[in-house]
C-alpha cells in the first residue's frame, strides 16, 4: 500500500512535469486557435530554442534568465520565418496538408540543428544542486526555478491576451476570423504574432526541458507527443485548457506509478486523450481560445 508521502511526492513530481509541459502546449494550442492546424514543427522549434539558450549560456557565458529570453526570441523568430516561407503556402490546401507539411518542416529543421551542432548530448553551464527535503518530499531547486519561469511566462501570456489590444485581436481572430476581418483586424499580422509567441513558448519549453536534462537534436521530438496529448486533453485551441491538459497528463503519468510499472507511463497520456475525448469530444475546456 503506498504511503501518503509517496502520493505527495508523485503529485509534486507531476505538477513540476505538467507545468513544463504546459509551456509548449500553450504554444501549440495558440497556433491552432488562430491558424487552425496542429503545427508539429513545434518539436523542432523547441529544439532550436533549447540550442539558442545553450549557445547563450554555455558558449557566451550568459546567466540563466537572459539565456531563457534568447531561447524564446530565437525560436519565435524562426517560427515566423518558417511560417512565412513554408507553411503559409500550404494553408490554402487545407489543414491536413499543412499539418503534414509541418511534420516535414520539423524533420528538416531538426537536421539543420544536427548539421550545425552534431549529435552529441549537451548540458547547460549550470551548477547541479542536491534536492531540498521538505518533510518526506523531495524538491529540486532547478525544478522550482523552472516552475517559476514557466509560471511567469504563462502569466505574461495571459496578461497579453487579456489586457493588450494585440492580445484581444488575437482572441477575436481565434473566435471568429470573419467577424474579426470585418472589424479590420489584419489576420496576417495576427498570424505572425501568434507564430512568434507560440514558437517562442515552444523554444522556452525546450530549454526548460533541457535545463533539467540534457539537449540533443531530438529534444523537441521526444516531447511532442506528450505536448500534443496535453493540448488535446485540455481542448485543442483553448489556452487555459492547455495548462489544465498538461497538468492532467503530468500528474496522471506520475500517479499511475502507484498501480503500474513505469514502462507504461507514456501510455497514460494517450489513455487520457481517449477517456477525455469520449466523455467530452472537445476536450476539458472546449475550444474557446481564452
Amino acid at each position: 500500500m503506498p504511503s501518503l508521502a509517496d502520493v505527495g511526492q508523485l503529485l509534486v513530481n507531476g505538477v513540476m512535469a505538467g507545468t513544463i509541459l504546459a509551456v509548449p502546449a500553450i504554444g501549440l494550442t495558440a497556433i491552432y486557435a488562430v491558424l487552425r492546424f496542429p503545427n508539429f514543427a513545434l518539436a523542432s522549434h523547441a529544439t532550436i530554442g533549447a540550442f539558442a539558450g545553450y549557445v547563450a549560456n554555455a558558449r557566451l557565458g550568459w546567466p540563466l534568465l537572459p539565456s531563457v529570453a534568447i531561447a524564446f526570441i530565437v525560436a519565435g523568430g524562426v517560427g515566423v520565418i518558417t511560417d512565412e516561407t513554408v507553411l503559409k503556402r500550404f494553408r490554402p490546401a487545407g489543414y491536413i496538408t499543412t499539418a503534414i507539411a509541418s511534420i516535414a518542416l520539423t524533420i528538416a529543421l531538426e537536421n539543420v540543428v544536427r548539421f550545425v551542432f552534431g549529435n552529441e548530448l549537451r548540458g547547460y553551464e549550470l551548477p547541479i544542486q542536491r534536492d531540498w527535503r521538505i518533510g518526506a518530499i523531495r524538491v529540486g531547486p532547478q525544478q522550482v526555478t523552472n516552475l517559476a519561469i514557466a509560471g511567469v511566462a504563462m502569466a505574461a501570456l495571459f496578461g497579453f491576451l487579456g489586457f493588450t489590444r494585440m492580445g484581444k485581436a488575437m482572441r477575436a481572430v481565434a473566435d471568429n476570423p470573419m467577424l474579426a476581418a470585418i472589424k479590420g483586424i489584419d489576420a496576417d499580422t495576427i498570424g505572425r504574432i501568434v507564430n512568434f509567441v507560440g514558437m517562442g513558448l515552444a523554444g522556452l519549453g525546450g530549454m526548460l526541458i533541457g535545463l533539467d536534462t540534457t539537449i540533443d537534436p531530438l529534444t523537441g521530438f521526444r516531447s511532442i507527443l506528450s505536448v500534443f496529448a496535453a493540448a488535446v486533453v485540455g481542448g485543442l485551441g483553448s489556452i487555459p485548457g492547455a495548462v489544465i491538459g498538461a497538468l492532467t497528463v503530468g500528474i496522471g503519468e506520475e500517479l499511475c506509478l502507484l498501480f503500474l510499472s513505469p514502462d507504461y507511463r507514456s501510455a497514460v497520456g494517450f489513455v487520457a486523450i481517449l477517456v477525455v475525448l469520449t466523455l467530452r469530444p472537445r476536450g476539458i475546456l472546449g475550444q474557446r481560445a481564452y
Partner: protein
C-alpha cells in the same frame, strides 16, 4: 564535426558510382565529340559494375555516437580491399544508410538497400529493437546481416544463418557483469532498465548470477524511454536501499538518471554500459554527477595483431569494441564473398564460417586473407574484436570485457577481464 557531413562524405565520397547513368553518359559524351569535331569516338572501356555492400548504422539518435565511427571503420577496411584489387575483380563500394536508432526508419532504409541497391549484405544494426525489425527483411530476401545488438532473442530468430553478431549476447554479458558486481563486494543491487528487448533477460540472468555469488538483486524496474525526468523511478529504486544501481539504458535516459540520482543524494555505486556513459556524456554532465560511475563494455582483443592493424588503419590510439567489430564485419563479409566466389547473401552465409574458424592459416586482416584465398589456401580470420568464432545460431563463443571508472570527468581503466 557534424555527422551529417560525415555521412555525406562516406555516402558520396568522390568515387561513389553512378552505375546506371554511366554508360549513357559515356555514349552522350562520345556522340557529342563526334558531332562537334568528327574526332575519334570515345572508347567505352569494359569495366565490371562495382560491388555494393550495405551499411546500416545509426548515424543519428541514441546510437549516433557509435554509428558514424563504425561506418568509418568499415570504409577503412574496404579502402584496403580496393587498393588490393577489390573483390571478384570488382571495386567495392559501401552504401551507407542511417538507421536513426529507430526501427521504423531502419526498416525503410533496409528496404532501400535490399530492393533498390540489391546489396548481398547489410552491416551495422546497433539497437536490438532495430535489429529485430530489420532481420526478417534480411532473411526473407537472403541478405546477410551483421550486428552489435545484444538481445538474446536476436540470434533465436528463424534467420536461417543469414545473421551473425560479434557482440556478446545478453546472457553472456549479464552473467559476466553480475559476476564483476559481486566481486566488488556489493551486497544489494538494484537494476533500472530501459524498455527494450534486452531488459528482462538481462535482469533475470543478473539476478541468477548475483544469487549464485552470494549477492542479491533487491529490485528491478523497467522504465519508459523519452521521458524528461525519472525522479519517481529513482525514488522507487532508493526505497530498496541498494549499494549499487545498474543503469541499463541508453545515453539520453542514463544521463537523466545520473542527474536525478545525484539530486536525490544517492551515495552508492552506479554501473552502466559504456554506450550509455560515453565520453560525450561525461562532457555534458558536471563532474560531481559522474564521479565514480563504473562502465563496462565488451572489449576489443587488445592483444591481437588484428587490433594493431586496426589501430594503424584508423589512425587512432585505442579503437573501441564497436570500431573493431565493424572492422571485423567488413573483413568477414569480404573474405566470405571471395571464398564463395559469389557476391550473394547465401554465398556469404554458406562460407563465413569457412574463413573464420577451423584449421586454416590464421590471418588478421581482409587483405592478408584475400591473398591466401587467391592461392587456394584455407584461412581462419582472427579479428580485432575477438577470435570471431560463431555458434550455429550466429553468436560469438567468447569475448573479453573492459571495466572503466570515471574519475574527474575521465575514464580510468579498472581492468580487462
Amino acid at each position: 564535426m557534424p555527422y551529417g557531413l560525415r555521412m555525406h562524405e562516406i555516402d558520396n565520397g568522390g568515387d561513389m558510382p553512378h552505375s546506371t547513368r554511366e554508360p549513357r553518359r559515356r555514349f552522350l559524351k562520345g556522340a557529342g565529340m563526334l558531332a562537334l569535331g568528327g574526332m575519334a569516338p570515345a572508347i567505352v572501356r569494359a569495366q565490371g559494375e562495382p560491388l555494393q555492400l550495405g551499411v546500416l548504422t545509426p548515424l543519428t539518435g541514441a546510437g549516433g555516437f557509435d554509428g558514424p565511427r563504425m561506418a568509418k571503420a568499415m570504409q577503412a577496411v574496404i579502402d584496403e580491399v580496393n587498393a588490393n584489387g577489390g573483390l571478384l575483380g570488382r571495386k567495392v563500394v559501401l552504401v551507407v544508410e542511417d538507421g536513426q536508432t529507430n526501427p521504423e526508419a531502419a526498416v525503410r532504409a533496409a528496404r532501400k538497400l535490399i530492393d533498390v541497391t540489391k546489396v548481398p549484405a547489410i552491416m551495422g544494426t546497433w539497437a536490438s529493437a532495430v535489429t529485430s525489425a530489420v532481420a526478417p527483411l534480411c532473411w526473407e530476401s537472403k541478405t546477410f546481416l551483421t550486428t552489435v545488438s545484444g538481445a538474446d532473442s536476436i540470434t533465436r530468430l528463424p534467420h536461417q544463418g543469414y545473421l551473425i553478431r560479434t557482440q556478446p549476447n545478453n546472457h553472456l554479458q549479464a552473467g559476466k557483469h553480475a559476476d564483476f558486481i559481486a566481486s566488488m563486494g556489493v551486497a544489494r543491487c538494484f537494476m533500472m532498465s530501459i524498455q527494450a528487448p534486452f531488459a528482462e533477460p538481462t535482469q533475470t540472468r543478473a539476478t541468477e548470477v548475483l544469487k549464485e555469488k552470494g549477492s542479491q538483486m533487491v529490485g528491478t524496474l523497467i522504465y519508459d524511454k523519452d521521458k524528461t525526468t525519472y525522479r519517481s523511478e529513482v525514488d522507487r529504486a532508493l526505497r530498496t536501499n541498494p549499494d549499487l544501481i545498474y543503469l541499463n539504458g541508453y545515453a539520453p535516459d542514463v544521463t537523466i538518471l545520473l542527474r536525478d540520482l545525484y539530486r536525490a543524494s544517492y551515495a552508492g555505486k552506479r554501473f552502466a554500459q559504456s554506450y550509455a556513459v560515453t565520453s560525450k556524456v561525461l562532457e555534458s554532465l558536471p563532474h560531481q554527477v559522474t564521479e565514480g560511475v563504473i562502465t563496462v563494455q565488451p572489449s576489443a582483443d587488445v592483444t591481437s595483431p588484428a587490433y594493431e592493424l586496426a589501430k594503424k588503419r584508423l589512425g587512432i590510439a585505442e579503437p573501441d569494441s564497436y570500431e573493431t567489430q565493424a572492422t571485423d564485419w567488413a573483413s568477414l563479409v569480404s573474405l566470405a564473398i571471395a571464398k564463395a566466389k559469389l557476391a550473394t547473401g547465401t554465398g556469404i552465409r554458406d562460407n563465413v564460417r569457412k574463413i573464420c574458424q577451423g584449421d586454416g592459416t590464421k590471418v588478421y586482416s581482409a587483405v592478408e586473407g584475400l591473398k591466401l584465398l587467391a592461392q587456394g589456401r584455407e584461412i581462419n580470420y582472427e579479428g580485432a574484436s575477438g577470435p570471431c568464432d560463431f555458434t550455429d545460431i550466429g553468436d560469438i563463443v567468447d569475448c573479453k570485457f573492459r571495466y572503466n571508472k570515471v574519475a574527474d570527468g575521465k575514464f580510468v581503466l579498472l581492468k580487462v577481464a
